[in-house]
Structures are given as C-alpha cells and as structure tokens.
Amino acid sequence: MSSIKKIIKRFSLLVMAVMALALMVTGCSKSEPTEASKPVTITFWHTHNAQETPTLEAIVKDFEAKNPNIKVELQAVPFDGGQNKFKTAAQAGNAPDVFRSECAWTPQFAALGLLAPIDDLVTAEDKADFLPVAAAAYQFKGKTYGLPQVTDALALLYNKKMFQEAGVAVPKTMDEFLAVAQKLTNKDKGQYGFAMRGDSYWVQPFVWAFGGGLIDINDLSVQINNAGSVKGLQFVIDLKDKYGVIPNEMDFANDYQNVMVGFKSGKYAMILNGPWATADLLADGEFKDANNLGIAVIPAGPEGKFGSPMGGHGFVISANTKNREAAYKLIQFVTSKENEAKFASANNLLPARKSAYDLDELKNNRIISDFKAVVEKATARPMIPEGGEIYTEFTPNYQAALAGKKTAQQAWDDVAAAWNKLLKK
C-alpha cells in the first residue's frame, strides 16, 4: 500500500512540476496564461464584398496556422444593413468578437457602450504607424476602440489624354479648376469638363475648400451655414448654372453609375471619386490603359484651404467578448503592414498604415502611390456618434439647392437647423 502511495505522491509531484514549468513558460509572454493555452474561437463578422473576401479569408487562414489555439469563425455580412445588424445583436449582448466597422459607425458603437477599449493592448509602434486621421476615427472620448484597416478619400480623377489634347495642367486651385473645366467643355460634342453627384458626401470638398465646415468636433458647433460653406455650395451650383461645365440633368438616384460611365467613356474630363472606384475604372473604356487615369489632390480654395472626406474601415472588438486579447491578436495581424498591403494589391484598398506604402509592391504601384498623397491630406469628418446620421438631412437639401428649389444659404440653413436638433438629442 505504501509503495502505491509513494508512486502517487511522486506522480503528483511530477505533474505539479510540469504544471509549474508550463505556468512559467506561458507566464513569460504578455498575455494571461489562461488565454494563451486554452483553445478559443473568435467570431469575426466582416463587410467585404465578393471580390475582397478571398483576400481576407487567406489572411485569416494564415493567422490560424500561426496561432493554432485560436480558431476564427469568419462570417460575411452585407455592408448594406451591416451597421444595424451589429447594433441589434450587440444591444442584446450577442455581438461577434470582432467586427469590421466603417469609420462613421465606430463612434456610435462606442457611445452606446458596445465596444471594448483596447488602449492597453496597442503598442506604441503600431500607434505611430497608423495614419493619424485614419486612426482617429477609431478613438472616442480619449479611448481607442479599434484598428484601421483601409482608408480612402475623394480625389480629383482626370483623363490625362483629354488634358494633353487641351493643353491644360492639373488644377491646384478652384480658380484653375474652373478654367480647366471650361476649356474641356464642349456642349456640341456632349462633353463636360466635370461631373458631380447629388450626394452630399461629394460636396464636402467644396465646402471645406471655401473655408466652410461641417461640425466642430470640439464644441459641436454647426458650421455648415457659415459664409465659407455657402460659398462652396454656390460654387458647385454655379458650375452647373452659370458656367455650364457640369451636366444640367442630375439623376440623383442613378448618378453614381452615370458619372462613372460618363467618365469611362470620355464624356467627362474630371470627376471626384475614391480608390474603391479603381477596379471599375480600369475595366474598360478610357482607362483600360491605367496610365491614362490621373489622380490628384482636390484643388484648394481661394484661401488655400483644402479638404477631402476621409472614409475607411477598421476592426473593432465588442464589449461582450470573452476573448479580448485573442481578438486583438487577430485584428493586429490583419492590419499588419504586409496584410494591409495585400488588400491594396489585390483589391485597390489603401492601407491605413504608413509603413505598408514603403513595401515594394505598393511603392511601384503608381495608382496606390497617387492615392496615398490624397489620403495623407484627408480631412476627418466629424467623428461623433451622429456622424452617419448627418447625411440624412444633408443630402436632400443639397439636392434641393442643385435643382434650384432652395438658395444655397437656405439649403445650408435648413441643414444647420436639422443638425442642431440632432445634436441636442
């Protein structure tokens, strides 16, 4: 009997020794011992479209290979409806561990308490590497809630061939812009120097260029109806009515497609659009030869002011996650410079990390480099919880002004009134 007892005692000592060793070994890494050794499953909802998804899937597989105790359940969620789907689930405590959140969605999720702060997990190195405007979108009230993955901004896209033929240079100011547009407009041929959308997102650059603003993020004062903003809107209206350099008929419901088709077929010499449009533009038409696509920073206004709305997507971690650190590992991996570069090469999505642009594959990609110049100068939209809702009133009033139903001042005054009401709430 006693010998068996001895064996048991020795055996348990051995087990304890092994356990102690294991604890020591895992205790050396920064994360908690329990999280590193237990197998965990992270649910990950993403909003990538059909073309971009394979890039993400390959990256996730790579992550799982490198982190055998973390399994990732990847689910695609339609972008259209994604915000509400996350909110509804999160309000009930049912959110996925990781979610790909558009930058305008994030402040709202944070304000609702649906996200887990990650300040303690972000390394200083990473912090410095992300483009400041992009990273700022994932911070709210001084806390960090996510890492940016891709970023974008509106750029001035132009047809280089048409520019050469007319002998014009890329406009740097709004005055030059108007002159170039006029030179490139030929009503008889049905050709216009510029084409505009009836979506208020697209009028923001003009508002900023003429010294206007949207909402001041510090004191939440509404600036949309100040003198500069009105001048910006008036400029666009004049482009249509006074100078005739943009088409008169604006089919608001279909204008995104129409502007793109017109640009691709050489009907329009310049448009505003972002990097997401690259794949479509290079498919055929005037830009089948990618060298013909000119990408420039949007011209500055009379006082040298400039603006281009920044957009983008990043990853957030929900507040009800049980595996915050594993989730962070995942998002850190997906937003590494190599992986962000993969999205750039495969899908024309601009990385949010500065170092990614230095990788060879991107350095030599002319389009990416050109867009980088634009994105570096992008303007943050008001990163407030109501950041997405402001467009509800913004767009109809912009359209009304374009159609001549309201004066520029009236339109922006109405928007200001609506925003004041929105912010009080």
């Binding site: 479209n49 059909a50 998804t53 359940e73 689910q75 695609a76 339609p78 972008f79 259209d80 409806g81 509400n84 789907k85 509804t88 689930a89 009930a92 049912n94 996925p96 558009e102 995104y256 497609q257 793109m260 088709v261 077929s265 972002g274 997401w276 449009a277 479509d280 498919a283 055929d284």
Partner: protein
C-alpha cells in the same frame, strides 16, 4: 333566382368554363379570342420585360453592363456570372437556397394550418370577441412591420428563437396570416353548412368534417394562400438579415445583398443571382396552379 341558389349550394365551386367554347367557334368568338390573346401578350410582355433585362445582364461580362446602346443580346455572352454565383465560397449559394426553400416550405405548411383552422372558426362559429379578433388581425398589418424589428429581436432572443428556422418561420407565418385567414374565411363561407351537418350526423368529428369536407372544397383558396405564404417567405429580407447570424443560415435575398457594395452594385452577379432565385418560385407556381384552376366537383357529390 332561387333555382340558382339551390344550384350553388349543391354543386359547390366548379371550374368556370365559358359556354362559348362548347359550341362551334363562330367568327365573333374567334375575333374575341384573338383580342384576348393580344391583350394577354401585351400583359405578358410587360410583366416579363424588366426581367428580360436582368436576364440579359446576367450573361454580360462586368464591362458590358452599362452602355449607351440598348443591347439585349450581349456582345460577349458568358456563363461566368452564373458560375461565380453558384460556386463562390464553396457554393454557399446552394446552402442559402436550401435555407430559403426549407423556410418557405415550413412557412407555407404552418401558415396553411394556422390560417385554415382560424378561418374555420371565424366562418362557422359565433363567439364573443369574434369581430374584434378579426379586426385585430387586420390591425396587426397596419403598423409597419419593419418598425417592430427591435422589440421583436429581443422577444426572439428571450424565447431562444434567434438563429433558428423556427423563429423565422413563426415570424413569416404570422405576417402572412391575416391575408390567409381572411381569404380562407371567404372560401369557407361559400361552403354550405348543411354538408358538414350531414357529415356530423354520419358520425364525423368536428375536425373530421373540417379536414374531409371543407378543406377539399377550398383548394383554390388554399392554393392562393399557399402561394402567397411561399413567396412572402422566399423573398423576405429584413427579418432574415436581423435574426440569422452566420452565413450558413442566410436566405437567398440576404445572401444576394452581398453584391450590393458601399457605393455600387455588382450588377452582373446580382442579375445571375436574381434569375436563379426566381426560377424555383416559377416551379412552385406551376405546381400550385394545378389546384388553383382545377375543376374539382368531387366535394359536391359527397353531400
């Protein structure tokens, strides 16, 4: 008129057959037939035309989707879109198809059961609160359903019905109930009570008369309600998106939305998907219309 009434009570619903066709076709009736064909052709064309554009787009490569020229026959027709839609992500489209089909089928069965039993009550019995209850069914339809998603989500969560067929089937069934109940009630109303009373005398239970006498005579009404429930469930988007987590549980409409991106839509893929979604419904209709138009006089002879 009294003879007519007796006729209607003993014969039951029968197939409507214009007498004209029984005689030798006169010139006038042939002219009428031609007119009828013309109207139907125009109507059929108008019905099908928008889908023809979708069909044509589904065979176009992405570059051809938008152009200045109306082109129904693509310059470079391709099956790539269909191939892509059917095979991407390990053919998840087929999983969505399975989900949609099971959901729609279950909804149809449950709706039919709930609606028929309820309609029978309303038709045959007088009880307290009958009119109020009937009106409340209508009331349920009047408040925009989309606005109730948030409370409904919490309720579903409490019942543990999220992420399950059961939850969606119940939601869809209750959405189509008011129409189905009122439709079937109308049909049941036309079936004379004497038939049932005779059957009861013969010893049939209340449920027996319901099942064996009343239901067979209401096949046209039943097939309309079945078709309605099926299509409602098949095409529904909002509830499916909100209550189902995980792509393997998505239905076709939700899955198809993946082609709608932030700024633009992948029309060529969406068109292929849309055509694929529409075909099963056509098949279901082909099956259902057998009962819709059939001239069952069998019920009448039992009386």
């Amino acid at each position: 008129m009294s003879t007519l009434k007796t006729m209607s009570t003993t014969e039951g619903p029968t197939k409507l057959m214009p007498l004209k066709n029984k005689k030798i076709k006169s010139k006038k009736s042939r002219g009428l037939d031609i007119l009828v064909h013309m109207i139907l052709l125009v109507a059929a064309f108008a019905s099908v035309f928008p889908l023809l554009w979708v069909l044509s787009t589904s065979f176009k490569p992405a570059t051809e989707v938008f152009s200045n020229v109306i082109r129904f026959i693509p310059a470079h027709p391709t099956l790539d879109n269909y191939h892509y839609v059917l095979t991407f992500k390990n053919s998840i489209f087929l999983t969505w198809f399975k989900n949609s089909f099971i959901l729609a089928l279950l909804t149809t069965i449950i709706s039919a059961f709930l609606a028929a039993t309820a309609a029978y009550s309303f038709s045959r019995f007088k009880f307290k609160g009958k009119n109020t209850l009937l009106f409340s069914f209508l009331l349920a339809q009047m408040f925009p359903g989309a606005l109730l998603i948030v409370p409904l989500y919490s309720i579903m969560k409490v019942y543990g019905l999220l992420n399950s067929y059961t939850g969606l089937v119940l939601a869809y069934s209750t959405a189509s109930l008011p129409f189905c109940v009122m439709m079937l009630k109308g049909f049941f109303d036309t079936i004379p009570v004497e038939l049932e009373e005779a059957a009861r005398v013969d010893g049939l239970s209340p449920f027996g008369t319901f099942w064996k006498i009343v239901m067979p005579l209401s096949l046209p009404g039943l097939s309309v309600t079945c078709l309605f429930s099926f299509i409602t469930a098949w095409n529904e988007f909002m509830f499916a998106l909100t209550f189902m987590n995980g792509e393997d549980l998505y239905t076709l409409p939700v899955g198809l939305r993946i082609f709608v991106n932030q700024f633009q839509t992948d029309w060529h893929y969406m068109a292929a998907g849309a055509i694929l979604i529409t075909i099963p419904v056509m098949i279901v209709f082909l099956w259902a219309q057998k009962y819709l138009i059939s001239g069952l006089t069998a019920g009448g002879t039992k009386g």
